[in-house]
Amino acid sequence: MNLTGEDRLSRSRADRTGVLKRVVLAFSLFAGRALVTIGAVVLLSFVISRLIGDPVAQFISADSTKSKEESIRAELGLNDTVFEQFASYAGSVFKGNWGVSYQTGQPVLEMLLTRLPATLELAFLAVAFGWSVSLLALYLDGRSRGGTLYARAIANVGLFVPTFVIGLVLMVVFSVWLGWTPVFGQGELVEFGWYSSSLLCVAGIKALILPTMTLGLFYAAQLFRIMEAAKGQIKTQLFYSFSCSLGIRDSRLYWKVLLPKVVVSVLPVSLIEFGGLIAFSVVTEAVFQWPGLGSLILRALLLVDVPVIAGFLLVTAGLFVILSGLSNLLSSLLDVRTGPSSLLGKGVGV
């Protein structure tokens, strides 16, 4: 992932053929990397579904005979060579057959799909919240002593306070003391086929507020750190010094020169951070007992429900590949020096 992009100099954007070339190059790079990553993750999920737990265990009861166990083993193809097993596993993964949960007996793909809307809605709202808070912090930072203090406070809360502590504090204040929001759960839902949304009724929206703030504050802190670094980098450049020396008004410098450049350089990285956000939603969903992907995978991990774990791995890998591809595409289109990657890197979330 060429996130630093130090070596790429800004060129004239009038050069249309250059843009096309860059996009094609970025896309082919992306496709290659995506294939490798997906392949590796399919391999990994195959390995864990064979090594952790016993696939036969789910089909046999305490009184099963040895011969019955053997026949199930043969039926599942477990007596074939490892390569044959992997080939058939990979085939079924691409056909959409991701196996059955040990716990509920439901198809894994279906379970993941029904949980997806809750997590997606939470994640998108958190992104919106994170962007607004970090932009506000960027605006306040350096404007006055108080403003700098607020901006630093937001950054440090996101850095030093674990997500679950933020969530618990919000819960204590707004749900337990003030009683404004429900303590946990998703509230009322409006269903459209398999997609059920909590955005369309008041109770649902109320239930969304605290999880959104918890997850969004984490995202905001990440974004603010990248924005701050990008801002510092722009301020060291000669064109900025020159504009300062020309006596251009501060507000104009901020809105016309600084802000667009900061946003453009943060945009590609923020897409990658979105993947980290989905990963971090496990913790937030655990705090608020939010019925999304996160609580599903947490339960699967605690109960060693291997097919669900393998399925979740595939989903996160797919998401990461799509997001990093989009991010590469975006930065090659925008063709600006991408800001430095966030200090905390990406995907290191819990």
Partner: protein
Amino acid sequence: MSEREAILPVEAPVKKAQGHLLLFWLVVLLVVAGAVAFLSPGLRTGEWSRVLLKADFLNLSTTPFWYGNSGSDYLLGTDYLGRSFLLLLLNGALLSLSVGILATVFSMVIGAVFAVLAIARGGWFDRFLLAIADIQLTLPLLMVAFLLKGFVSRMVEESWSRHWDPYILVLALALANWPLIARTVRLSLLQELSADYTRTAEIMGRSLAGRLWYHCLPNSRNTLLALASTVMLLSILGEASLSYLGLGLEKMDPSLGGLIQVGQELIFEGRFYAIVLPALALIAIASGSYWLSRFFMAREQGVISARPSCQLRLTDEVFSVHNADVGFASGKKLFRGLSFELGAGECRSLMLPSGAGKSSLAHALLRSAGILGPEARGAGIVNFDPGADTLTERSCLAMMPQDARLALDPVRTIGRLFEDLEKSGNSDAASFRKEAVELLHQLGFEDPDEIFSKRGRALSGGQAQRVVLALVLMTPARFLLLDEPTASLDAHHKSVVLEILKREKERGRGFLLLTHDQEANDALSDQVLDFGQPAESSGIPDRLAVEQPGSSDRSFEIVTLEAVGLGSGANSRLQNVSLKLHAGERLGVWGRSGAGKSSLMDVLCGLEQDFSGGVHWSVPEAGAVPAVAKVFQNPGGSLNPAFTVRRCLEEPLSFYLETESARHQARLRMLELMALVDLGEDILERPVATLSGGQAQRVALIRAIVIPPGLLICDEVTSALDSRNRERVLKLLKTIPETAIVYVSHRKDEIASLCHRVVRMEKGRIVEDAPF
């Protein structure tokens, strides 16, 4: 002789620095040992938990003292098993800290080992490693930790894995974080490996391990510490999150995360302390360990001088600076005692060679006047006192920077830049636009509207410089800092620009002109400023007789190049270069940039191995004499900033000379050479970072010739120096008659005074080879 011996201190100060380093590692080792011991199964199931965390079934779930249940033995109450909450808190904090420390150390070791391997092996291994790191990024920490625990519990018995649970968690956290570390360390080491001072050591023949240890590691210190502090934070918070989710440490022996999970039940009873206290402890540990490792980072050198504070006045009538020292926060100085006073309609000029710090001076003035913020890169006035006698009016000063293309915003059009100015001033839009168009016309733009629609990077250097001038002239600023205003203009446009500047001067503007262009100076300047004293004491003593060109012994050929080529096709950098160099011969090399001078030097130094043709040496291969040494263009860059001057100078001595007596002789020679070029012995103990450009370049040269090499390569060694330092450097080069010198320069006068022979290069070939 005896005098000299007395001056040389017996123990080098380097030892002291190593002492600090030793202490640091000792502390790290102790802390790690403590953490290992604290997590060990012996302690966890033994005395510690049995005695201190003893269950007390008579006092289950009691409340802390402020709930008013006097008579309880427990200050903070007990948990559901009747264990003291205070001790649980302490235990949890120690657990979190131990896991965090061990995970950090482990992941730093794994990441650093992989980074070094990637650099050492290069090629496919490097790419493979990056690919693995990329793939692992798709897995959240949670999954890595779980998968590892799953594997381990399958491989070993459950009771065993329960005992070693904390260590498995440490390993899992380390595995989750290593890609971040491997990438950062790799990048940082690669940067250091390509630095000039590391290259110098490479030419000297230091192995990769030696270079990494002596040159890369000390200079990556801040990066590594910053990384360690981040990883520590990630590990501590990661452990807490995992434990909170029930995937981390054993519930019966909870860390802070586990305590919060248990305490969550109690908040509905109103007992908020059960989550607040562990949360506060967690935040304190996380932020404390983060800031502690930042504390060990090397800090900037303080400001060195204590001269009477300088004054800077900037009003509509006068722009004056009195008694200013200009330099960097590191202590490096550019100018000392700079004073001038500039009134309306006047022009003062500073005639300085390129690289002498003109742009730095301009930035320093702007920063001190409060026009640029502290983030702007570059120098400042170091003894500037923004106190009583200082008056600055920000809008009265504007700068015209030298590098005009970089001064224009890369993505906004020129028209937008003029709009910025118009919106920031008081004049109305129509008259402003008319004026701007008029000015651009005068500056030789046929169609100003076309220029308005272009972006800065689409302009040529000369066009950009004129646009920048137009922008500067459209400001209401009374005083202008002109940094080489005519540098990239052709003769016609130069005269146009100088006419316009003259007119502006008559209209009452004041200029501070920083240039080395005599024509611009003659046209505008009323007075050439003496730029204060140069940053070092003057006067060159002529203690050693300096040998003149032509008297060297040309007995044998030290190196022969036969039809050397480098690269092929469009990437061809050298073509069919043949060259013979005799011992003691001084060869000047000149040519435009891109002519292949650097490639030729790389082949001679051995930095470039992948060439065709033959290079034959006839230097004695014995280790006592370096075959080849190189001095780099940038004086600051070729000395390791982590070293003192003494350590830099003595590096070749300890590398080449075996006996102490030989080293002693070499040290005496070193002192003689230093005296010859006016470097005092007091300089030996100074950190390299505090040297001025001229001093640094002389130190670099002395290091290269203190044991005279067979061949010395000098790459534009005088380009950043003023004339006085240039003379000193040339003088040094004449003290080694037995050494052949390849002197690359674009200054013909230096080549003429120094060299016996000169070759001219063009497009990777030698096109001219003539004796002087």
